[in-house]
Symmetry: D2
Subunit: 371 residues, 4 copies
Amino acid sequence: MGSSFGQLFRIMTWGESHGGGVGVVIDGCPPRLELSEEDIQRELDRRRPGQSEIVTQRSEADRCRILSGVFEGRTLGTPISILVKNKDAKPEAYSEIKTAFRPSHADFTYEAKYGVRNWQGGGRASARETVGRVAAGAVARKLLGKLSQGRFEIIAYVTQIHEVVARIDRASVRPEDVERNAVRCPDGAAAELMTALIQSVRTEGDSVGGVIECVIRGLEAGLGEPVFDKLEADLAKAMLSLPASKGFEIGSGFAATRMRGSEHNDPFEMQGKRVRTTTNNSGGVQGGISNGEDLYFRVAFKPTATIARDQKTVTASHEETTLTARGRHDPCVLPRAVPIVEAMAALVLCDHALRQRATAISDFGNRIAES
Amino acid sequence: MGSSFGQLFRIMTWGESHGGGVGVVIDGCPPRLELSEEDIQRELDRRRPGQSEIVTQRSEADRCRILSGVFEGRTLGTPISILVKNKDAKPEAYSEIKTAFRPSHADFTYEAKYGVRNWQGGGRASARETVGRVAAGAVARKLLGKLSQGRFEIIAYVTQIHEVVARIDRASVRPEDVERNAVRCPDGAAAELMTALIQSVRTEGDSVGGVIECVIRGLEAGLGEPVFDKLEADLAKAMLSLPASKGFEIGSGFAATRMRGSEHNDPFEMQGKRVRTTTNNSGGVQGGISNGEDLYFRVAFKPTATIARDQKTVTASHEETTLTARGRHDPCVLPRAVPIVEAMAALVLCDHALRQRATAISDFGNRIAES
Amino acid sequence: MGSSFGQLFRIMTWGESHGGGVGVVIDGCPPRLELSEEDIQRELDRRRPGQSEIVTQRSEADRCRILSGVFEGRTLGTPISILVKNKDAKPEAYSEIKTAFRPSHADFTYEAKYGVRNWQGGGRASARETVGRVAAGAVARKLLGKLSQGRFEIIAYVTQIHEVVARIDRASVRPEDVERNAVRCPDGAAAELMTALIQSVRTEGDSVGGVIECVIRGLEAGLGEPVFDKLEADLAKAMLSLPASKGFEIGSGFAATRMRGSEHNDPFEMQGKRVRTTTNNSGGVQGGISNGEDLYFRVAFKPTATIARDQKTVTASHEETTLTARGRHDPCVLPRAVPIVEAMAALVLCDHALRQRATAISDFGNRIAES
Amino acid sequence: MGSSFGQLFRIMTWGESHGGGVGVVIDGCPPRLELSEEDIQRELDRRRPGQSEIVTQRSEADRCRILSGVFEGRTLGTPISILVKNKDAKPEAYSEIKTAFRPSHADFTYEAKYGVRNWQGGGRASARETVGRVAAGAVARKLLGKLSQGRFEIIAYVTQIHEVVARIDRASVRPEDVERNAVRCPDGAAAELMTALIQSVRTEGDSVGGVIECVIRGLEAGLGEPVFDKLEADLAKAMLSLPASKGFEIGSGFAATRMRGSEHNDPFEMQGKRVRTTTNNSGGVQGGISNGEDLYFRVAFKPTATIARDQKTVTASHEETTLTARGRHDPCVLPRAVPIVEAMAALVLCDHALRQRATAISDFGNRIAES
């Protein structure tokens, strides 16, 4: 239990890093949405290992297949099953960890919880599990585009790697700025420093973490369901469910703790016919509901747990030992995490958009007005 | 939709700040747990307005009544309905906000979402809504105590108010250290500075935010359900669903982004018969599952949106205006938020403890072994 | 767990037959629906004990109070909490059943499941639990009326008591025909026989069962969610969740098992601009989705388990004994079950109407068309 | 939405009759259960088309593949993805129904709901969809066997085809009695009549329905969650979610409506150390909770809608027309529905067994007792 996400746009992901494959089933996608394997492949390619010099060199084409729910290029309203086969599995590379627990991985906790684990790689705890999220996110994003008549935009990017902090204008950053370099940081100068740092860290057999920021534009006001399913609550859950994430903040975030109310409050003003705020410390959400301003949040990622160094640990039979991890890995997960953050955000927003449609007052009023 | 929380220990809260009352129904509490109104009242009293000089002076006794699910002092296994009536409602105090949107409150977004709102106070967006959470959390906490045979402990406290940062030894802090002062900060010197700051801020008609940390001890390994219902994901959702919260971090949190893997990883070692980690940057959770170490996290709260200053805003009929809020309020929400953070953490952990019982390998093995 | 019902129009009921009261919280009711306590009271009065000579004489006014979610006569979109206090509790009347299990009641199974039970009456297994269902159903019914612009109609009635079978024209029966007599059977001649039978059975200290039919008119085509949440599946669940129900059939039901496909199939034809079927063996549902024809189903109720006769049973300490039930009871549950069947049907249809709104193609098309 | 089933043992099925395949993902299966593709294949073979002369001759090997969740022959506790590819698709056979709605099929309602449908066969409304149910049911059945230490048994069989009614001793019927003939009726004489009837009906281009009974033995007392998730409620939903089912009854069912309470009540008695009932009109369930007696229920199936006769209907463009269905079909669905009924019952019971484990008083007591 725990592999389902969403109330109305509901997904169930499955698959271990080594096994038949990974995939997702989407239940609740509305009918008549144009959808092709290319729509999904485009996002999977951004997540794919081996896509650049600074990520893991595991070679997986990650070709997706849509097995159901789409007919003649459009969704049927029935479950969409998407499959990505595993190819380049080298389970023998993991024989050492069959018995020893890798520090800060999930080996020990999976053993504690389940009493069994697929020791050929990270199993279900591997970042390979996110393939299903990205595939489903691509569908959610397409649907959000249609529902918003093209206004909806979601852009994530790296703002910090270890001590290197980028300068990015959140209001104007575009997707192509993000894709311009392998590190997915729109500040070119910072990106160069980050790339150099990641390469040097890899050489040292070490790893680094950092921060990804995500901005969402074109969101209508009114999404989010108080009191538990506030928009920021569901986004926080989505982000903390990602491998290696350690923190989440929306709008002013932790910086708000050092501000006074008189500084932090966002005054309302009229801009043409729209109610706007002059500042946006709220991050586009008030009382758990979107207010029509840009929604933005940041996610903290720890340094990759897999490192090429000797590490003290214990075995499944409770003997102390020393472990050197040899599996291929990412010295820094952030570049590949960018499309994953976007996918999870799209899943949350798509679910809330459908939830809001169910009870939306405008529709409700219109229907009555027609009579 | 959105007022339910939990899968197995499931609650539904209800109630506006002004109306018949507030309350909660708990569905899924196991039978035969000793439970009294006093168990619940104790926690409600910690949340209650008017409890000290530094919180809002709204006077509510907040007496709870258990209406169902308890018989002769023990739970029946059936839904537990808890009611707290509203007393000191002064709706006339809110007449000004009937039409004008208070900056950084939920007035505008509720109007956008629902097309109607209870303008007598914050309605459902008021912090008064948390009464139901605290009542349910008291039951969850009692159940966790029983399930863990008394080992389970959950302690939240204020670690920062605006620029005042406390020094607290997370490993040794006790509940009585927290309750020693009105600000609920176990560092006495810092608490004095914080109290002075809050009082001075109130005089200025302003407000401040801060950080609450929460530590959980005595948690068994194996709680948390990958991949979406990771323990830290459900905790993050719980905390970001709280009024005024802007951020969440677990273990090393945002500080992890400036560490290397070789520093951040928590080596395993044997301590007697137990597998332990020598450091605890993970914060007690690995791969979304508890590892038996102390679990700890921090929550960022913004400065209270209600301030006694003139503020620029617009009306429901889209005219710009100036607003001075006059309702009673907390210049700083953190002291009263401490029991609320604990309650939400208890709800998450209790739900996961029951979920784990459903499939736990130890039980499973035992049952088989009996045959 | 198990006291929640519905996905989007979600209710949680609570309360034992003897205790503080019974009630329900509705989460997911759309905003701006006109709603008063009278709307709810009207349905509760139809369910109320003591309303006629042929039902239990337990005297409960069953006055409801709306505690939240309604403001100035309209729903807020927030949870609606409805409370009905218990009044005429005579727990001492139940002292005999404190230890002995009443045959075909839930005493034994509650003890087996929970290890504890409220022996003062039926506890949670009492039909009194249905107060919350009827209250929530009244809200659902009102919403369905609004969504359908008044076309929606739901009418249940008694068609059989023991061997007495009524003749009723399902197509033309009206609510006032049902309410014309205490037994709620629109066939006046049959109703007289039924009334006489129930009175004679009561004199004998015995009880009888029967069948309730329910017809729903004005339902739009397209409600129901294949494959598990088919409309008839959710209706079947709703009806089998009622105390004393033993069977459910939709459309031709069990009679279909003796028909050939060539007789049973409902041919399509055009009636003006509408696609209609010339017969309606399907009962208004095909493939789990409403087809716009009248939806109808029947529910079988067993004879009341409480009888005034000596009965063989065992005690909680596993000794055989003889029991004479003395609590007040209904010699036949059907007259009072009529509004309960309607309430559950309304809850199912209301939930599906909102679910359909979330993804409905017409809205979807319209939104796009606007651009 | 609607392709998920279960709370803790949760499945999501996917797939159309013509397309890449059909399948299921199971989330919530406990770890360390021995499981192989053969366990699943065995049940799929009982559902498979072409298995005998009296079922559809569509030829599908229906070989299943487990893609995840199983490692070295045991479950991992992670999602189990099972895939069955479609082979013998002849979409061209369905060109006539591209535009015309088949009477009493789901063509019209899918069009009304979704505005699009896969007209190559029944799409998602095809009985082929049940492959995923049967595969998941095989896993549930295996788990129930383990949890009950082999005592659990579930046996369904045909008791009636059209006017032919079998005589079967519910208490003693064994699985091998059911599998002895193609019609899956343990009464050999009746089975011969049924077979002859089905063959004659096929020759006439017509179809017949009937009744399947299912008995469950070895069920512990205490399963079922009042008030909405009563065991019979969830079973009713499961059965009415099956294609072609029109009715459900548990225990005495509709026959109870013609009994008196004094006849119908099941007296308790002691049998050794066990509390038993001397009769079993309750059908093994009281107050929604299993009482340890055999649980039994019956499901009504209508005659197959696909017949080889001219039928009046209308087209998608609202013109009246005449249709002769030519696709391969079953003249009677019941023989192949037997394993499907068993599978759905297993899914319901397995889910409830896990739910009961979460809060079961015996475990609860034991844990405390250990301290």
